[in-house]
């Protein structure tokens, strides 16, 4: 049997993923994350009188802390499996990916285990985040003057 014919045979037999349900879940959970972020921002600015720019940093730190804590407590992976991109795309996903790698390689030592592997999943986020920030910054300066 040739490869093309076999691929057709395989396609006929494998189930379709529920793209609509998955997208709806990610949309709702991601949106809910946005609400939580906004709530935190409002709490920090109105109750604690922190300027908005600094409050947004505190809000991000809070979400990163919670994402890491929930991963370490061992239930965030189940939430991620369920909500998919709803939890992976927000900053919680970044924290979760780092913490899970750190937990996995802890037994191999602090340097060669955690140090060498903590950015295993998030290394590309940092690399391409920095590179694209540079180019978008450049575009902004050239087109809008900063």
């Amino acid at each position: 049997m040739d490869k093309e014919k076999y691929q057709n045979l395989v396609d006929k037999n494998i189930p379709k993923e529920n793209v609509k349900i998955n997208a709806a879940k990610a949309f709702l959970v991601g949106g809910f994350m946005g609400i939580i972020g906004q709530l935190l921002l409002d709490i920090y600015t109105t109750w604690l009188n922190i300027p908005t720019k600094e409050a947004s940093t505190y809000m991000i730190i809070t979400l990163i802390f919670l994402g890491s804590l929930f991963t370490a407590l061992g239930f965030f992976d189940k939430w991620v499996s369920w909500a998919n991109c709803g939890l992976i795309i927000p900053i919680t996903g970044f924290a979760h990916a780092m913490t899970s790698a750190a937990l996995e390689y802890r037994k191999e030592g602090f340097v060669l285990g955690i140090g060498a592997n903590i950015f295993k999943l998030t290394g590309s986020v940092i690399l391409y985040g920095v590179v694209s920030a540079y180019f978008f910054g450049l575009i902004r300066v050239l087109l809008f003057g900063g």
Binding site: M1, K3, N13, P15, K78, V80, S100, L103, K107, L121
Partner: protein, 327 residues
């Protein structure tokens, strides 16, 4: 290539599992099951080693032997860590094997060949796998928990060992077919059933041709870990390529778990999946007289994350062993 064996018998088997297998439908058949994935060890790699050592200990007890002439063992981990460490403590001459999830029947084939040739009197053939050590090595960190598609399979946790020799017992290893590596261009690392089905089909066809047998000669044909979708792909493939109907057929990955209740997607996989089912419920049914001739085909995806990242497709292999009840 099919080998016929004159006087090779399966004297004893031992199975050790993790918690998911314990909660599955076959739990009463296993010799030992751990309630936690760490098996009271510090790391997943050591947990897998512990299970492999335990399975050999239980096996020697059941076979009433102190050792064997040769130890053939394999697993999924880099450098075959669990097998090597078990061989270290056993102090028996050792062959480390790797054919991914087809290693179990590869071990039985080689062990039977050694015994049949008269080079050794008896052999221990073992395999192990561990869900978490395999996930760590082949995919993402365990706590990451990224979602998987429905076609994905779940690496079984445990170890299985078999004691084979010339001493007659109830089960005879009648023949075995050495598989060829196949690759029909599948690159989806989650769809291992589709990767392995062509290898299973090729080995099955070759076995029947070499032995001049009809597909209905066997009371049961089982594949190792194709899962529910891979099982259907194999059925269609056999029909289309060889015009054969697979009727008395099942897949160990489907039999090992309760697919409706356990989080195992399309079924179990891993080197230990095939022998956990074969050495437990299938042998039990053979000894009870419900099955007389069984063909066990362990299917292995020779998956390498490095080569998949380099855009190559995944090769696969399947080895078959024919077991018969001695009358």
């Amino acid at each position: 290539m099919t080998f016929k064996f004159k006087n090779v018998y399966l004297n004893a088997t031992a199975t050790v599992t993790g918690p998911y297998e314990k909660n599955g439908p076959l739990s009463k058949y296993f010799d030992k099951s751990f309630d936690n994935l760490y098996a009271n060890e510090k790391t997943f790699e050591l947990a897998e080693t512990k299970m492999l050592k335990d399975s050999v200990d239980i096996l020697l007890g059941k076979a009433n032997e102190k050792g064997a002439d040769v130890f053939l063992s394999g697993d999924l981990l880099n450098q075959l860590v669990p097998s090597n460490l078990t061989a270290l403590s056993l102090k028996i001459p050792y062959f480390g094997l790797y054919n991914a999830c087809a290693t179990s029947m590869e071990g039985l084939l080689l062990g039977s060949t050694l015994i049949d040739s008269g080079k050794v009197k008896n052999a221990i053939c073992s395999v192990s796998s561990h869900n978490c050590s395999a996930e760590k090595q082949f995919r993402y960190p365990n706590e990451y928990g990224g979602s998987k598609p429905k076609v994905a399979t779940f690496t079984a946790t445990g170890a299985a060992s078999a004691y084979i020799s010339k001493t007659p017992s109830q089960i005879r290893i009648e023949s075995g077919t050495v598989g060829k590596v196949m690759d029909l261009g599948i690159t989806d690392v989650y769809n291992m059933g589709a990767v392995m089905a062509p290898a299973a089909a090729d080995t099955l066809y070759q076995h029947l041709k070499d032995m001049k047998r009809d597909i209905n000669y066997y009371d049961l044909i089982v594949t190792g870990d194709l899962g529910i979708f891979g099982k259907q792909i194999l059925r269609d493939y056999m029909k289309e390529a060889y015009n054969m109907d697979l009727i008395k057929y099942n897949d160990c990955g489907i039999m090992l778990y309760n697919l409706n209740e356990q989080p195992v997607y399309a079924g179990g996989s891993g080197p230990v999946c095939c022998p956990l089912v074969s050495y437990s419920v299938i042998l039990d049914r053979m000894k009870k007289g419900e099955l007389e001739k069984v063909l066990i085909m362990s299917t292995g995806a020779l998956h390498s994350p490095t080569l998949v990242n380099q855009k190559l497709s995944i090769p696969s292999i399947c080895h078959a062993i024919s077991l018969e009840v001695v009358k």
